[in-house]
């Protein structure tokens, strides 16, 4: 690991000021992507701004028709939250599928969303649930936030403070895990809202998380697995690597989408 200056602010404002003063600063959330990346010297920030002591970034609130989660809330906290289990069980189940228990005790929702790893789980939930990513400067719709692999709408020095998830009528997440890394080889999040169905896919797309409009239209007409018959995603837009080639990933998108619809429809 290269040397860096370490800062531990206690407010979002202080964190933003520190970022403004330092070139090549990085925010440290749970650290379960950033620290391994720094160990490999693939990242070498001049300063590290630890968000771990900022109380205002923690916590889970239910307010009417939405669940709002502080950016530094850990995966284990989302997985075990009674409010989330009651309102959006699919989101708690997704959190429980991330990494292993130790990773879930450190990794945060804000860190995952800001990183936008193409195989991460939360981006699919944000897109399918039509979440708003709230920063210290603005509110960004998930549709505008995720802009390709490891790329987001965040400006330099901008800090995610909360993520707000509208509560859907029904939702489920189906994940085909890489058994070694536990990242999604393919993960499909399906959510039925009053205004229609949204389907988001992670792990598969060569440009990161994406929605599948054909599936959304078909499921909005008939929220049942058979509504997806005959709908396929384009192989040439899928990832290919040693774990799965593009054709297999495209196939898995269909299979996982059906499983998610089945699980969502079975909830009541």
């Amino acid at each position: 690991m290269y040397a860096f200056d370490y800062h531990r602010p206690t407010s979002v404002k202080e964190a933003a000021n520190l970022a403004g003063q330092s070139e090549e600063a990085k925010f440290l959330a749970g650290g379960h992507t950033l620290l391994p990346t720094m160990k490999l010297r693939l990242a070498g920030p001049a300063s590290l701004i630890d968000l771990g002591q900022i109380a205002e970034l923690r916590g889970i609130q239910r307010s009417g028709d939405a669940i709002t989660i502080g950016a530094m809330t850990k995966h284990a906290e989302v997985a075990s939250s009674a409010d989330i289990r009651a309102a959006i069980p699919a989101l708690a189940e997704l959190a429980e599928l991330i990494g292993d228990p130790h990773v879930r005790n450190r990794g945060t929702i804000g860190g995952s969303v800001a990183n936008n790893d193409p195989s991460a789980d939360y981006p699919a939930a944000c897109l399918a649930l039509d979440a708003a990513i709230v920063t210290d400067k603005r509110r960004i719709a998930a549709d505008d936030f995720f802009q390709g692999i490891f790329t987001t709408a965040l400006d330099e020095g901008e800090i995610i403070t909360q993520i707000s998830f509208p509560i859907p009528a029904q939702a489920a997440y189906a994940k085909f895990r890489n058994p070694a890394s536990r990242y999604a080889l393919v993960g499909v999040f399906v959510a039925k809202h009053a205004g229609g169905v949204r389907v988001a896919v992670t792990g598969a797309g060569s440009n990161g998380v994406f929605r599948v409009p054909e599936m959304e239209e078909a499921l909005s007409r008939n929220f049942a697995p058979e509504a997806l018959d005959g709908i396929a995603v384009a192989e040439d837009e899928m990832n290919s690597d040693i774990h799965a080639d593009a054709a297999y990933r495209a196939h898995l998108v269909g299979v996982m989408a059906r499983r998610a619809v089945e699980a969502a429809a079975a909830r009541d």
Partner: protein, 164 residues
């Protein structure tokens, strides 16, 4: 250098560390608590699991400076009054180890499982919850038995559990 102050196995510790120091390096190299192991150093294997504020974490993926003002418990801190912790005793009794390299992490994870899931653990739960701990010797069979027995034994030893 950054000053860190934390409580490790019930004792207050203050030291100046390079910001890059990992918690596991701090425990092993500065405090000489070498029971916590480094296996993969990539947050996969779980040989470095310790409890940070009561939660199991991989100490290879936490900076020492992040643990400032925290309470850390390592494998050296769980035996009380010269008696093995019930989970340690169960690993010995059920031969839940061969080379022993993964054992400190296994035991710290196992205690965390009991803290979260209670004392009656079925095999499926134990196997699922141990997914962040790798053992390259035993095939896990005796480890799973040891965790189940240790979990039961912890119910009989409330004082030891509370001591952490």
């Amino acid at each position: 250098m950054t000053t860190v102050s934390l409580t490790v196995n019930g004792q207050s510790v203050t030291a100046d560390v390079d910001s890059r120091t990992l918690l596991v390096q701090f425990l092993r190299d500065t405090l000489r608590l070498t029971g916590t192991h480094v296996g993969c150093d990539t947050s996969q294997c779980g040989a470095c699991v310790v409890h940070l504020n009561g939660q199991a974490v991989k100490a290879c993926t936490v900076l020492a400076v992040q643990a400032d003002a925290s309470v850390v418990t390592t494998i050296e801190g769980i035996a009380q009054g010269g008696e093995l912790h019930p989970m340690q005793a169960a690993f010995r009794e059920h031969h839940g180890l061969q080379c022993g390299y993964c054992t400190p992490g296994m035991i710290m994870s196992a205690i965390d499982i009991v803290n979260r899931k209670g004392n009656a653990l079925d095999e499926q739960t134990i196997r699922a919850e141990l997914e962040g701990n790798l053992c390259r010797c035993t095939g896990y069979h005796n480890i799973v038995k040891a965790v189940a027995a240790g979990a039961q034994a912890m119910a009989q030893a409330p004082l030891q559990q509370a001591a952490e």
